[in-house]
């Protein structure tokens, strides 16, 4: 095996130390989470849990428990957030990619605006306004808040995915007699699908992880996984917090694998162009 890494020759001992540090930075906290999730009794100054067991896992997966309820809430909200985001992002992305819209970059940046301000300030005001509409503490309110955050990625990625579809492929279909809609459904959309899927998964993850907006708009009626995690940590219940974190990790890892497997570099390169 060669010792060349990015053109720099790294002797094997420092290289091993470097890799070890990387591994520790990534897997150290994960190992800690795993330990906590199976620790039934663990207190200072002991280095390892005193009693092991799956009691807390059982508690989390107990039907009708708080944890299952918040997991359900999280998934339902994430699914609806994906649906609403894609319903906006697919037409918007297509229009931004294909039509010569005036103010194209301004429109793209406009979707970024909600991220540009301190989220606490934004969501306190959103909560106040939603309260007026009766949306506070409802699923609809939480889905809307999540959609606003997911939309920037959904629209940007969808725009990139549609831009990556060669225009001549659409022209070939039109030329053979396909209407605009038919062309979109049979040519453009299938070819942009990997990118659209990536944006859907991305929005799903954002919704799953979202805390601030849910905290201000959803609580106390709508409790999601991150809120459960927050409550559990506040109460010092590290076992529940750890298990929740591990559960939240699963879709993220899945997404990474999907990106690695299906998304081509040319789509990623067009994000934000």
């Amino acid at each position: 095996m060669s010792n060349v890494w990015r053109g720099v020759v790294v002797p094997w001992i420092p290289r091993a130390i470097l890799l070890g540090l990387f591994a520790f930075a990534i897997f150290g906290p994960l190992a800690n989470l795993l330990l906590w999730s199976v620790a039934e009794v663990w207190y200072f100054p002991h280095k390892l849990p005193l009693e092991w067991g799956f009691d807390f896992w059982r508690q989390v997966f107990k039907p009708r428990g708080n944890a299952m309820l918040s997991l359900n809430n999280s998934i339902i909200i994430a699914i609806f957030t994906v649906i609403v985001s894609l319903a906006i992002a697919i037409p918007a992305g297509y229009a931004l990619a294909r039509r010569n819209l005036p103010w194209r970059s301004l429109i793209l940046i406009a979707f970024l605006l909600p991220q540009a301000f301190p989220s606490v300030a934004v969501y306190i005001n959103v909560a106040r306004i939603f309260y007026g509409f009766g949306l506070a503490g409802t699923y609809v309110g939480v889905v809307l808040v999540h959609t606003v955050q997911g939309l920037v990625f959904a629209v940007w990625i969808a725009t990139a995915a549609f831009s990556a579809v060669d225009r001549e492929l659409e022209e070939a279909a039109r030329n053979l007699g396909a209407s605009g809609l038919r062309t979109f459904m049979t040519i453009t959309l299938p070819l942009a699908l990997p990118g659209i899927m990536a944006s859907a998964i991305f929005v799903f993850l954002i919704s799953l992880d979202e805390f601030t907006g849910t905290f201000f708009v959803g609580v106390p009626d709508v409790v999601t996984m991150p809120l459960l995690l927050f409550n559990a940590s506040m109460e010092g219940n590290y076992q529940i917090a750890s298990i929740t974190s591990l559960l939240l990790l699963v879709p993220s890892v899945g997404f990474m694998l999907f990106i690695e497997r299906f998304l081509k570099a040319d789509v990623l390169a067009k994000v934000g162009n």
Binding site: E168, E171, A172, A173, R174, L176, G177, R182
Partner: protein, 368 residues
């Protein structure tokens, strides 16, 4: 499914402030094979895209069999196009690509499969139907693209440099295959190319475009033997240029002698013999000739009815069979092949029979 006539009438197209087509008119007869020939940027692809409906027309009309389709969307024109990039759909198999147009026409499954099979065997693609197009070679993709267009039995076939991505050897055979298919199916074909030989071999008539205007329309023999302008002559390979001063009378064209050439009396074309003269023939002329029409002679020889240029050999090479010489005439250089062996510095005459000359009156041109 005989072809339909196609009329392009005064079509103008601009991209922003740039006028790409400055009023182009062509009449295409049913079943005719037309080549749009020109260098890049001459507007030939734009003209094809205007005909197929992908480029909006600023002025003028496009008629298919006397039906005005100028403002019809591309899917309502009933033309099938083969794209330069082939534009095959990578998420479909070869058979699905070819069958797409038939599916749009709601052809029943059995009939559809039969016609896809038929098209594939017509193009020698048997057994490749289940392959994704990404798994096919360049030549096979080209055939699938052609098959996709032919499967819908179009009356007009548009070809946008479909051979430019093939290697030279395959290109030769595909040329003849496309031409044979077009004749067999009797469809009208418009073929865009920048390859002179390709246009000559395939087309019934050639349309030469120059900066958005038609420089000449004619049969291959016409544009080759009787180019109407200095541009067409140069484009069709008569790219050696020499300026002359002459006077015309009933006996022919009297060319006065200069430092570069002897005086001569040239007959003017009336049929195939004699020089091709465009303009009055009096005063300043630009003469074009092809290297292969030139012959090397003794510098003192004066063959009747031929123009003799005074040259000096400045370079020699032997590509095989014949010798190739670079000959300087004044400050111009000409490449001439000859069987005789000559040395660098030899004075020679370049003999140009009247028949090989294309003469243009008072037509300033950029020499090559």
């Amino acid at each position: 499914m005989a072809g339909e006539s196609l009329t392009v009438d005064g079509v103008k197209v601009s991209y922003g402030d740039v006028q790409v087509l400055a009023g182009v008119s062509i009449d295409v007869a049913p079943g005719e094979f037309i080549a749009l020939l020109g260098s890049s940027g001459c507007g030939k692809t734009t003209l094809l895209r205007a005909i197929s409906g992908f480029v909006p027309v600023d002025a003028g009309r496009v008629l298919v069999a006397d039906r005005d389709v100028t403002n019809a969307p591309p899917d309502k024109r009933g033309m099938a196009m083969v794209f330069q990039s082939y534009a095959l759909w990578p998420h479909m198999t070869a058979a699905q690509n070819i069958g797409y147009g038939l599916r749009l026409r709601k052809v029943a499954r059995g009939e559809l499969n039969r016609r896809v099979e038929e098209t594939m065997s017509l193009l020698g693609l048997d057994g490749l139907g289940d392959r994704l197009v990404t798994q096919l070679s360049g030549g096979q993709r080209q055939r699938v693209a052609l098959g996709r267009a032919l499967a819908v039995e179009p009356r007009t076939l548009l070809l946008d440099e479909p051979l430019s991505n093939l290697d030279a050897r395959i290109r030769q055979t595909v040329r003849h295959e496309i031409k044979a298919l077009q004749q067999q199916l009797q469809i009208t074909a418009i073929h865009v190319t920048h390859d002179r030989e390709e246009a000559m071999v395939m087309a019934d008539r050639i349309v030469i475009l120059d900066r958005g205007e038609i420089a000449q329309i004619g049969t291959p023999e016409d544009v080759y033997n009787r180019p109407r302008s200095s541009f067409v002559a140069a484009f069709m390979g008569a790219d050696n240029v020499i300026p002359l001063t002459a006077k015309r009378d009933n006996g022919g064209l009297h060319v006065s002698a200069s430092d570069d050439h002897a005086d001569a009396v040239l007959s003017i074309a009336d049929g195939d013999e004699g020089a091709n003269l465009i303009g009055s023939g009096d005063g300043e002329l630009t003469a074009h000739f092809r290297s292969e029409a030139a012959r090397l002679i003794d510098i003192n020889e004066r063959p009747e009815g031929s123009l003799v240029l005074f040259g000096t050999v400045t370079q020699t090479s032997y590509p095989g069979g014949i010798y190739r010489y670079t000959i300087d005439v004044g400050d111009r250089h000409f490449l001439v092949d000859d069987l005789k062996k000559l040395g660098v510095g030899d004075a020679v005459g370049i003999c140009l029979p009247a028949k090989s000359l294309h003469l243009y009156s008072a037509n300033p041109t950029t020499s090559s």
